[in-house]
């Protein structure tokens, strides 16, 4: 028993010594870190006028700002983040890009192949955020390596490809190295311009469903009216989700023609389809929309009723129509949502 007690005592003393050693080590690193941050702060403070002249003025030579030490590179990297975070403009981005391509290419390339996953992620984030187009090739080459990258890294690599390559991104988006979810696709596609979306959606029918859904959503968000025929085509799709998303995007496009195509969805057994139809009809003429919306305001689903009331309100003479619902309807729920529309504005 005494032996156990002694051993336990020894274990606790050793643990205490280890913990205190860690404590002092931590304090040592903390002091180093504080010093490093101070040095970066000092560089930024000392050179801020020169940087201001270079980024916001005309004709200030970058040669005077050429970094000589690693700490200066880190300070400039920090400065870029602060600038991009606070004042982003094409002109500033171009100057940041020009400076970084001249003096910081090795700095970022080295970090991109670092053994630390966190450093690689930080660097990929910066390449995307600072728009460092000259880093496209080093980033693309990562995909050719045998190394296994995390999902976060692969997504960032695809994001950079989407941002800086006009065509190469397509194959990676259509057949990514890891399965991508809807959120991932949205994040990637938000960075693309209309021309790139057109390229990606060329073979719409053979794309993975999640990518199709995202393209449909992007069409609505960015108001790509040229793609309305594709949305119409999606209304016949056997996938319920594709039909709902297509209706949602049509509602976003704020179109008031081809209403006969949408009307049948107001009788759908799927409430989301009825909801989106109610949303679409807010842009139709009062004569066309009212009969449908007056039916939908009595819908068994609360969200459909609420949307129908909202849509009626936005019609020409909508207030009058809502007032008629309040005074004439026998449906208590319809009266409630109609009354709510009179009482609130947001």
């Amino acid at each position: 028993m005494d032996k156990i007690l002694l051993s336990l005592l020894l274990v606790i003393v050793v643990l205490l010594i280890i913990l205190f050693a860690l404590f002092f080590l931590l304090v040592f690193y903390r002091i180093q870190e504080v010093k490093r941050k101070e040095a970066i702060g000092n560089y930024i403070e000392d050179r801020q006028i020169d940087w201001y002249e270079y980024l916001f003025g005309d004709g200030f030579s970058h040669v005077a700002l050429k970094p000589h030490k690693n700490l200066e590179l880190e300070a400039i990297d920090e400065l870029f983040f602060r600038i991009i975070y606070n004042f982003s403009s094409d002109e500033i981005n171009d100057k940041v890009n020009a400076f970084a391509s001249l003096y910081m290419s090795d700095y970022y390339s080295k970090k991109l192949t670092s053994r630390s996953r966190e450093l690689r992620i930080n660097t990929l984030n910066k390449i995307s955020l600072f728009n460092l187009q000259f880093m496209l090739d080093p980033v693309s080459s990562l995909l050719e390596k045998k190394k296994k990258y995390s999902k976060t890294e692969l997504l960032l690599i695809y994001e950079v490809l989407g941002k800086f390559s006009r065509t190469d991104f397509v194959t990676h988006f259509v057949a990514p190295k890891i399965p991508l979810g809807e959120f991932d696709y949205k994040k990637l596609l938000m960075e693309l311009d209309e021309e790139q979306i057109n390229l990606l959606a060329e073979d719409f029918n053979v794309l993975p469903e999640l990518l199709q859904l995202t393209i449909i959503e992007i069409i609505g968000v960015h108001h790509y009216l040229d793609w309305l025929p594709l949305l119409h085509q999606c209304l016949d799709n056997p996938s319920q989700e594709i039909r709902i998303r297509a209706l949602k995007s049509i509602a976003e496009l704020e179109v008031a023609n081809s209403l006969e195509l949408y009307e049948s969805f107001s009788h759908s057994t799927i409430w989301e389809e009825r909801l989106m139809t109610a949303k679409i009809f807010r842009f139709a003429t009062t004569e066309e929309a009212l009969p449908i919306l007056e039916r939908l305001i009595k819908d068994p689903n609360y969200l459909v009723r609420a949307q129908a009331a909202k849509s009626i309100k936005s019609l020409k003479n909508g207030h009058q129509a809502l007032y008629t619902v309040i005074t004439m309807s026998t449906d208590e729920f319809a009266i409630d949502v109609a009354e709510e529309m009179f009482g609130k504005e947001y």
């Binding site: 028993m1 005494d2 156990i4 007690l5 336990l8 005592l9 274990v11 606790i12 643990l15 205490l16 913990l19 860690l22 404590f23 931590l26 304090v27 903390r30 002091i31 870190e33 504080v34 941050k37 983040f81 975070y85 630390s116 996953r117 966190e118 450093l119 992620i121 930080n122 984030n125 910066k126 995307s128 955020l129 994001e159 979810g181 809807e182 959120f183 991932d184 949205k186 994040k187 938000m190 959503e217 992007i218 968000v221 609360y302 969200l303 609420a306 409630d336 949502v337 009354e339 709510e340 009179f342 009482g343 609130k344 504005e345 947001y346």
Partner: protein
């Protein structure tokens, strides 16, 4: 066998049971500490501000309803609302639910944010006490105040769910404040998992003694009160060691009601918050786990260490006792309500590991530990052989009570590069070493009282004196 021998063997047997128990607890805590260390190590150097930038985008960030149940929160509610209004998040609404407060909570909010009564149809999906009025702010149209008949925190949250218009809701206590990036970061696991995560909780930290203006922390630092510092240490240990490790294996049973986000669809499926328990936050999480298993869905509930919610901790023994009794009573009630899940393979790791962990270590731990303290004292009267035994137990208590706390402080300091300051770190470390001698026995007694309240089915919340975190309080 004569009587003294039987007594002595029984006494020895109890001693061995205590010893085995302590070793099992130490093993569990060590494993959790190791998992937390590995997890934090993976993210330590990540510059999260960089990825925040990419996340603030309308289309792929889901809108969130923030529900603030408020009962007599006139001291803290303004700071809370200011911090919410300053959130970096593309689309959210704030619903302050005044749960029949008898102080000036309602007037303070109406006056300060220029609120006007509005008519609003409420989709009564959960049964609640009636709503008396709904107000909307003229200055911030996404801020609503709902006044209702008093029905308790769970009822107030259920009202918020009924009124909410977005697919996710965030519950936050009326006396807490959020960092501006907190909502974005707590929502990230939900977004990035492509909706496989149905609930997330963030870290809650104590802000007593901090300088807070307009709902924002402007200066961090340790408070002067020792009792508050001990709670800071406790929070670090609980959040880093317990929740991080359990979260990694989808076994987390508690995500703090002070700051958590849920999928509304899933919460409605389990009937919202349960009203007849004092630990409605844990109860909801356990119900969700039960539902996930019953429906055999591959969904997760996770704890995210980074997003921070600041809260006010009790700064006197009376209030701390009330709080700890209540927490433990909530734990006991939830475990009792879901007793069928314990050791049931149908519920996977939650039933086989998490619930037994909460039952034997978290719930019964205080009783067993108190028995251990009593045993040590008795050993001193049982002769020389037992003195050694008492010594072993005492050392295990130190290992379990103080050294784990110290390790958690160091882990926290290591994972966050600049907090706390070296002077404060030293103070935290030194105080953690005293924990086992005074603070821990006290909390053990209070938690045991909580078990007793649960057994007697007491339904009192008990009131805790709030001073408010913000300097700009009314």
């Amino acid at each position: 066998m004569n009587a003294p021998l039987i007594t002595s063997s029984f006494f020895g047997f109890v001693g061995y049971i205590l010893l085995v128990y302590m070793l099992a607890v130490i093993f569990s805590y060590s494993s959790m500490l190791l998992i937390a260390f590995i997890q934090l190590g993976k993210e330590r150097k990540l510059q999260k501000k960089l990825s925040d930038e990419g996340a603030v985008d309308f289309i792929y960030t889901q809108p969130v309803t923030i529900i603030v149940p408020a009962y007599n929160e006139q001291e803290g509610v303004l700071g809370n609302i200011y911090s919410l209004l300053a959130l970096q998040y593309p689309q959210f609404e704030i619903l302050v639910i005044n749960d029949g407060s008898i102080d000036n909570t309602e007037d303070v909010v109406i006056e300060h944010f220029n609120m006007k009564p509005i008519r609003k149809v409420v989709n009564q999906q959960l049964e609640t006490q009636p709503i008396e009025a709904i107000y909307q702010s003229d200055m911030h149209p996404n801020l609503l105040l709902i006044t209702k008949v008093n029905g308790g925190k769970a009822d107030a949250l259920n009202v918020g769910i009924n009124v909410s218009k977005y697919p996710y809701f965030c519950s936050i206590d009326g006396d807490s404040i959020l960092d501006s990036t907190s909502l974005l970061r707590v929502m990230k696991p939900i977004m990035e998992s492509n909706k496989e995560v149905i609930a997330t909780g963030g870290t809650v930290r104590i802000a007593n003694g901090y300088e807070i203006q307009m709902g924002q922390v402007v200066r961090e630092g340790l408070p002067s009160s020792t009792i508050v510092i001990m709670q800071i240490i406790e929070y670090m240990r609980a959040f880093l060691m317990g929740r991080m490790a359990l979260s990694k294996y989808n076994m987390v049973l508690i995500i703090s009601g002070a700051f958590s986000v849920f999928s509304k669809k899933w919460v409605l499926q389990v009937g919202g918050y349960t009203k007849n328990t004092v630990g409605e936050d844990m109860e909801l999480v356990v119900k969700l786990h039960e539902e996930i298993s019953d429906r055999k869905e591959d969904k997760e509930i996770v704890f995210t260490p980074d997003p921070v919610c600041w809260t006010e901790a009790p700064d006197n023994f009376k209030d701390l006792r009330t709080q700890r009794r209540r927490w433990h009573q909530g734990l006991a009630e939830s475990l009792w309500l879901h007793k069928k899940m314990a050791f049931n393979p149908k519920y996977g790791p939650v039933g086989l590991l998490s619930i037994p962990y909460f039952l034997f270590i978290e719930l019964l731990g205080p009783v067993i530990e108190l028995a251990g303290y009593a045993y040590m004292v008795l050993c001193l009267f049982m002769g020389e052989a037992y003195i050694v035994f008492a010594g072993i137990l005492g050392l295990l208590f130190i290992l379990y009570g103080s050294l784990f706390s110290m390790a958690s402080i160091l882990l926290e300091a290591w994972s966050r590069n600049t907090y706390p300051a070296v002077k404060d770190l030293f103070r935290l470390v030194m105080l953690s070493l005293t924990e086992v001698f005074w603070y821990r026995p006290l909390t053990l007694i209070w938690r045991t009282e909580g078990i007793s309240s649960a057994l007697r089915r007491k339904r009192e919340w008990g009131s805790i004196q709030r001073r408010g975190l913000s300097e700009d309080r009314e």
